[in-house]
Subunit: 230 residues, 2 copies
């Protein structure tokens, strides 16, 4: 592990996939960091000072300088600690990775959230939307990425792999909530295979939240959303 | 002007600041491209093929390969044609540029849009929101960027300068719509000075839409929004 001069701190929460993707990137790069657990009901003075505009986690503080927003942090990490690379060298491939990572956060992940916070007919609609988004994502991955390597990035996970895989335990939560598997070998073979490769890594086991905790978190989200909409 | 092997085409519309920032970047880099004017009421077959997911402009097609989403395109342009640089070299400075560019599109620009499409009390609220966002942006720029250079990027405009300045004629449209200047030397001296430097460039005059056209476009947006909300 490389110790970073001036110090490296990550402010985060354990349930957040946005924080998990940053932690995973730091672990892949082999740099030593201090993890600071935030309580979002009572945000630390440091968090508010470092991210006064969005007041959100994750915040990476490197040598006293804050970097915020998970994509911005991932690019920063890749530009600061070079190996193993999270992004390809070719500009066109980089553009495709950025496009799909943005798509994942803006279109795909909100569809999954819809399933958690809706019920009845609205939840049925959310499930349909999720399946459509999953199919777009899967088709995109089939067109974009070569077969025969464990990750879209190659032998080691890259930015897009981390974005997708940091949410993979949410797939299990969704299965439990709706009583059927949505992401599997039939519905999304590329994503399924990617997640399978990823879950064999020690850093995945060490970093991703446990299923029970995530399920409890999802149920709290659900209760809050359903109460506020009644 | 550098002629690009394999061809370089930009699908866009003349009213869109997202397209303008890409055109401005290409002109700064001195690369020759073909501009393809899209009609968003009747999108071309090429646009739908090149951007099947979002179906939006701008789309840059380089050597037959499409790149979509304006930030992704700007980073692509900067990685493909190196000089003059749109982004600094230092990773922390790059992160700050990406943060503010994202903030501009996600928080600041929608506040401006709110002024156009609302009336009465709702418009008053939108103006208040816009002023608050402008003050956050101005303060951020004061803290982040050195004084004494014409652009945040230095002697030539960079990614964040292009993002801000591609919308600058909308400021004049807003002034006309609400009957008062919102962005000026008193309310936002850094932004005002930046826009002033930018408007002295020939590429600004050549690329940005004329005021009358933009105003007509804003009035159409306004009419459509107010009719649909009645």
């Amino acid at each position: 592990m490389e110790t970073v001069q001036g110090g490296l701190k990550l402010h985060g929460t354990r349930d957040s996939p946005f924080c998990a993707r940053v932690e995973l990137a730091l672990k892949l790069k082999g740099v030593r960091y201090e993890y600071i657990q935030e309580n979002l009901n009572q945000k630390s003075e440091e968090l508010l000072r470092y991210n006064p505009i969005h007041k959100k986690v994750p915040v990476l503080v490197h040598d006293g300088q804050p970097i915020v927003e998970s994509f911005v942090i991932l690019e920063y990490i890749d530009e600061t600690w070079k190996e193993p690379r999270l992004m390809p060298v070719d500009p066109h491939r980089r553009a495709r990775i950025r496009f799909w990572a943005d798509y994942y956060d803006k279109e795909f992940a909100p569809a999954g959230r819809g399933i958690i916070v809706q019920k009845g007919e609205e939840q049925e609609k959310a499930i349909k939307e999720f399946k459509e988004q999953l199919s777009i994502l899967e088709q995109g991955m089939e067109e974009e990425f070569p077969l025969g390597q464990p990750f879209f990035n190659g032998e080691t996970p890259g930015l897009l792999d981390l974005v997708i895989c940091s949410t993979c335990r949410w797939f299990t939560v969704l299965r439990e909530l709706v009583g059927m598997s949505l992401v599997n070998e039939e519905t999304a073979p590329m994503i399924f295979s990617l997640v399978h490769s990823f879950m064999e890594l020690q850093i995945a086991e060490d970093t991703l939240p446990q299923h029970e905790k995530l399920l409890a978190h999802a149920l709290r989200m659900r209760e809050k959303a359903l109460n506020s909409s009644d």
